[in-house]
Every structure is written in C-alpha cells, then in structure tokens.
Symmetry: C2
Subunit: 459 residues, 2 copies
Amino acid sequence: MTAGALIRELEDVLPPGAVVTDPTSLAAYRTDRAHDPSAQAPRAVVRARSTAEVQTAVRWAAKHHVPVIPRGAGTGLSGGASGRSDALVISTELMRDVAVDERTRTVVVQPGLLNAELKAIVAEHGLWYPPDPASFAICSIGGNIATNAGGLCCVKYGVTVDYVLGLEVVLADGRVVRLGGPLIKDVAGLDLVKLFVGSEGTLGIVTEITLRLLPAPPPHRTIIAWFRSTEDAAEAIAEIACTIRPSMLEYMDRAATNAVEDMLGLGLNREAAAFVLAASDEQDPEGREIAFMLEALRRHHPISADETAAERGAELENARRSAIPAVEVNGRILLEDVGVEIPKFAQLVHGIEDIAARNQVAIPLLAHAGDGNTHPLIVFDPADAAEEARAIRAYGEVMTLAIELGGTITGEHGVGRLKRPWLERQIGADALELGQRIKSAFDPDNIFNPGTIFKEVHE
Amino acid sequence: MTAGALIRELEDVLPPGAVVTDPTSLAAYRTDRAHDPSAQAPRAVVRARSTAEVQTAVRWAAKHHVPVIPRGAGTGLSGGASGRSDALVISTELMRDVAVDERTRTVVVQPGLLNAELKAIVAEHGLWYPPDPASFAICSIGGNIATNAGGLCCVKYGVTVDYVLGLEVVLADGRVVRLGGPLIKDVAGLDLVKLFVGSEGTLGIVTEITLRLLPAPPPHRTIIAWFRSTEDAAEAIAEIACTIRPSMLEYMDRAATNAVEDMLGLGLNREAAAFVLAASDEQDPEGREIAFMLEALRRHHPISADETAAERGAELENARRSAIPAVEVNGRILLEDVGVEIPKFAQLVHGIEDIAARNQVAIPLLAHAGDGNTHPLIVFDPADAAEEARAIRAYGEVMTLAIELGGTITGEHGVGRLKRPWLERQIGADALELGQRIKSAFDPDNIFNPGTIFKEVHE
C-alpha cells in the first residue's frame, strides 16, 4: 500500500477533519516542550474526540505496524512526545469532558482537559484537585497521568498517582479496558491503575480518568527567605523537611531569581544566593508550623526570613512557577529533573555548580526542595554548536551526579526519549528488564511510544 | 529424586534449623486467619533469616518446580497463605531488622516485623507510620505489603502503598532486585514498587521495605454516636465523608457491638442498631470539624452523638479493633471485605441483612465506613454442615451484591484463594488477563502462590 493509500484508509474510518496531514499543522506536533532538535514531524495526527476514535486509530496503527505517539497538551519536558516521521500522533487535546460527583468527592475527566481547568471546575463545587505542576495552566490531565506529574503542593499532598482511582485505556490491540473505578479502597487484582500512571504512553492510551478530590484547600501562610549561601538554605530546608509537613517548600538560586526578576519585575533580591518559599496550611492560630519554619530559617544565617502577606505570597508563588519560561528567554534550555534524598540537596547543588563551571554553561536551578526534586536548567545558544555540545555534556553529567548520590534522573517529568540512556544506570539492568517484560506483555509489537523509557527493539 | 532426598537437598544449602519438616510444626503453617478448611500442611517450611536464605529457597523451588507460598505472620484473611501439601512455605517471620533514618524521615525494615512493633520503634524517634490494620498487633509489615493493607486512619492518611518508597524482592528465578529507594519523588521507569504492593506474593518475595514516615500524629478528638436505624447512620456517614476529612470514621452494627460487649464489657449500647466512631485531628481550637460531625450526626436522629474523653475514645477504638476476634467467639467466620462508593453504603448494609435472613446465618457487620469498606462476618457452626453450606452461599452472595452495586470484593484484605472465583466478575476478563500477562512475564513457571489472584495453569 502506498503511503497516501495508508492515510486514506485511516481517514475513511474517522470523521472528516480528525486526521491532520498538512505540513503546517503537522509542524506543531514535531516536539513537546523539551524541543528535541532531533524530533521529526509525524506522518499524521489524529485529533480524537472520543475513546472510539482513539480505538479506531490504534487499530489502524496496529494493523499496519505504525508507531503511535500518544500526546496530551505537548508540554512534556523529557521528549516523551517528540515526533518521528514514521509515526502517528494520537492527540487527546480535544477530549475535554468532565463530570464532578460531590457525593463521592470524585471527578471523571477526559485526558485533554488542562490541569488548571480541572482545578477551577472542581473548585466551583467547593472541592480541590491538589497536584499542581508549575505548568498547570498549560499541561493536560492526560499528560499528568503519563508522567505521574508532581508540583508545588506535593510535598504535603502527594503526586498525581495518589489521586487516580480509575482509568479507561485503549490497549495495543485496540481493546478498551476499564481499570479501577470510583472506589477509595480496592485491592482486587494487581494494581494496574498505578502501573499505567507514569508509564509515559508506552502501555496504552488513557482515554478517561477517575480522580479522588479533597475538600477546598485551607488557607495558608507564606514565608520568604533569602540566603547568602546555598548551603545555609539547604540546611534550613533539610531541618524543616524532616520535622514538620509544610504545604510548600520551594527553592530558586540567584540565576533563576534574576531571570524571573528580568521578566516580572517583582522586586526580588538579585544579590541573594538562594531564595526559599515556604508555606503552612496548618489551621492553628498559634501558628506553630510557621513559627518553627521561621526559627529554622533564621538559625541558618539568612539575609532575611519573614512571613509575607497573602497577596505577596501568591505573587512569589507565581514567580516560582514562571522560572522555566523566564530562563528560556535567555536561550534554549535542557531541562533537568534530578532528585536526591533531602540531606544530599546541598551536595547536589554544589555538584551542579561544578558541572556548570567545568562546562562553561549557565545552569540556573529551581527546586521542589521539600521533596529533594530539583530542576537545573542548562541554558545554551542553539546557534553556537560548541556551547550546545557543552550543554549536552553537562546534561549527562548532572544525571550521572544524581545517580552517584543515590538519586533519580527524573522526579516528575518522566524519562521520555531524552533521559533513556541514563535509566539503566539508575535503576539497574534487572529492574529495567522487569519493566521491559511488562512492556512486551502489553505491547508485543512495540507500537506505543517506541524509544520512550525502553529501547526500540531494532537498536 | 525421592521426596526425602529433595528436602535433604534443601537442608544442605540452608543453615541448620532453617528447614522445618516435623508434622507438629508444619501444622501451624496450614492455614492463615481465613482458616480455609481445605488448606493442607505444606511439604516443608523455610524460616528464612536473610534475603540470601530466601533466595536459596526460591532457587531450590524453581529448580524442582515446587510451588512457593510466601508467608508473613499468617494473619491474612483471604486464604492467600493457605498451605498445600505440594508446596514450600517461605516464612519471613524471623526477618525483623529495622533502621530508622530521621534525616530522611524513612525506615528500612525487613518483612517479619509486626506493624505495631514498627509503629512503636518509629515513635521513639518522634515519627509515625500511619497504616493501622485493626490487627496491627499481630500482622507483619511484609503481609501488609502483600495485601496493601488498610486500617482505621486510612480514611485520612491513606493505605500501605502510599508509604512504600522502595522494595527488595526475590524473583522467581532467584534474582534479587531492588526497586525504588528512599526518594520521595522518583518516576524513573515503570512503577514496579506500587505493582508489587498488593500482589499477594504472586510476583516475588519482598525481603526489605523502605517506608516513608510522617511526624508524630497530632492529638485527636473522638465522637461516639448510637443510632436506632442503620440508614440514619449511613446518611450521616455519607454527609461527613463528602464534606470534611475525618481521621477516623468507623461503624459497627448491633450484632458486632454485642459480640464486643460480651467480650470486653465496656458498657456499649446493646440496643442500638448502629454505632459510629468518628475522630478529627484538625488542630483547630474552634473545633470546626468536630462541630460539623456532631451536627451531621445529630441531624440524622441518633440515640446520642457526643464527644468523648480521650481515654474513653481509646477504649472504643480498641473495641472496634476487637470486633473480629469477639465475633469469632460465637463460631467460625467467613470474613468479607466488600466495599462500595459511600453513598451506596446503606444499600450494601441492607442487602447483606437480606442475605443473612434468606440464608439463616448471622452476619455481624463492621466497617471503615469513611472509605466505604465493610467487613461482614458470616458466622457458622463448623459442626453443622447445613449451616456451613448456607454460610458459604451467603459469602458468595455478599460479593455478588457488592459487584452489582459497582463495588469491590476486597478493599484491603486481598483476593487470596478464597475470593478468586469472584474476581473476574468484578474487574472483567480484560483486566484479569492483563494481570495474568504480568504474572506470566514475572513468574513463567507459576511457582509463586499458585491459585492466589490467578487461576492455576492446570485448571
């Protein structure tokens, strides 16, 4: 069958307009936010409007051995949705239905709804969906499921997987299977729901999600601290993280702070080596958590450490959320997501400073510090091939450092295609091989997202 | 090889005393707390003292195609550790090492330590391991991992899987693999840690566990309410569960309450149809959660609904924990673990009353009501074959009812061998088949706990 005939067969079984093939439109599906330069425009995109359409597209792909790249909002940061010219992208961006059930405090949602949209919808019912990636305004729930996304409140309220009760999934053979459901406790059979969360589109395409919700979030109080030394900040963070349960414990270094200040002009301290943003939502009029955090921060020689007004707190939380786009203004970035045990946070930060100096690249750093999860942002000028090469070297060195410290190459963004070469070194050949057994058992022809997490068979 | 020579080969590769073969000792390994009458004494038991000994025993079993039944404290309630005469039991009861790390707020523990022992040890460090099965004084951490055990505080603090960061596992081929680790956030590769939790010994034997801990639990306030009608109690529970986050929301019916009162003599209300035990650990001097719960309970026509002193609260929590042994005094029990969405709790309770009446068996009921998870206890006299037959019929009818209500056959005890015939009807043939693919990929010769969750190949 010619390439044109193949696509016409797909168009024939889907509604008009569902299959995108014009080069201008396809270009928008070439990369995700990792901007992998080696990504290619896909052969075609199906913008599905229903589970049945996803199923139809998967059956076509399985029949013709066409690789499938599942895609949400395209905001992934590890190249898990990088396009390739032989592949079909199945996008869930148009699948946006949502239904809140106040009586069971759950919501059933399709994968294309954005995280912030979901939060707003459930808030109208006095409810709360906690996971809040910094990118929550632009990332989709489907993508959050694919990567088991974290965020700022996760230090107290957990990550995506902690809220997923049920999934509907299209398998590699085109079957639609429902896993879990609205029940809060259910141990009937292996936990396939939690296995699909974080599987980065390698096992199937999630078409519907049942999420557990909490009551509306309690009000919180916010502390801002500035430090002359990153070690002091790290020590204070470690003391807080092992003693209480802050509802937020974030960190930015000087370079990240300056990039944010350049963009937003919020009057941030451009001279400080480290910025710590901490919050407590404890409903205690004595404010013991806030008092403890202030003491802990002040014990470690800050420039200042003070509670801030709610409005200013929100502004600074937004500043922290804006750090990645703010740094991107200065060049292209290779985005890291490495994590360590919290007592090793200072070691990780120092090691990254060494890597930056040795490779002569800027690596501004932000962190969900209370989880030990950092985002070093390796900045380079894509027009400068030598600098790009140094940046790529630094990217690998940061992951190697994290592994040497007993840490992870990815805390919340996923392995994607970009971090796959380091995965085995972290988790070991045996764990990788166990994962490969599941991949092979679920998707024997390797049609789903080949090259993400697992090697392609032909490599 | 003769049976004797086979066992001698095992004895030769393990330390003296590790292999148990005398009939008196073996009898103690015949059943777990499900007391399945069809269980058989195993061929031998290895009481392992180290990962290496588990590994040696698994290799021997794999070489000779001997089924392996992993066993913790033997307190399982679904027959997941029922013995069989052709099998080797590998018991982890002697593996009891534990090491707390305050700086990372984690603990590394071997599977044989009891839940209550772990709680006490971490409490010495000012820390808290929340999951608290009613049986916490006698169940082991390894068993908790195997079933993804719940408990009383889970309504607010989650179940076992929410605290497991890392595992060491012996696989069917005798390899030892480490999964996850001490990191709070880590999405590198498929989440095999969460897959092993709740896998009931069908995928491997867990030999070491890394658990996340919380700061010491805050003090809580307790409410006791008595109702004339189970519907009223159920409505009040549903209202509380969808509005706030109680730290405990438990239920017992009249028959369970009377059994506990017979055993403990605490002055419980023998006439009330339903008992509700609710707690809040909100640190709010205005006590808004307690006030809300009292209002909600009082709106639904209770006999009484009052806050109780801390000491009496602890006594009644203990009463609730004693319900299963208290009911067991009246005969043998078939223990159910069915759950539904909370708004369907009253329907489930009524349906079970019908099943009890129709089958002329007593079915006292207790529940982690805030999770929709109930424990109907079907009581029968094992000397009365007709009554036993009616009890067995009722056992199946209760699961069928839960499935018809969109619920689960097991919320926290596991499928074991006793509930397996109902599993497919709940989760569907496709989900069961996906689980079977994982089982076959991890344990192709089906040596680990055959008949638990999955059918035996020869069936």
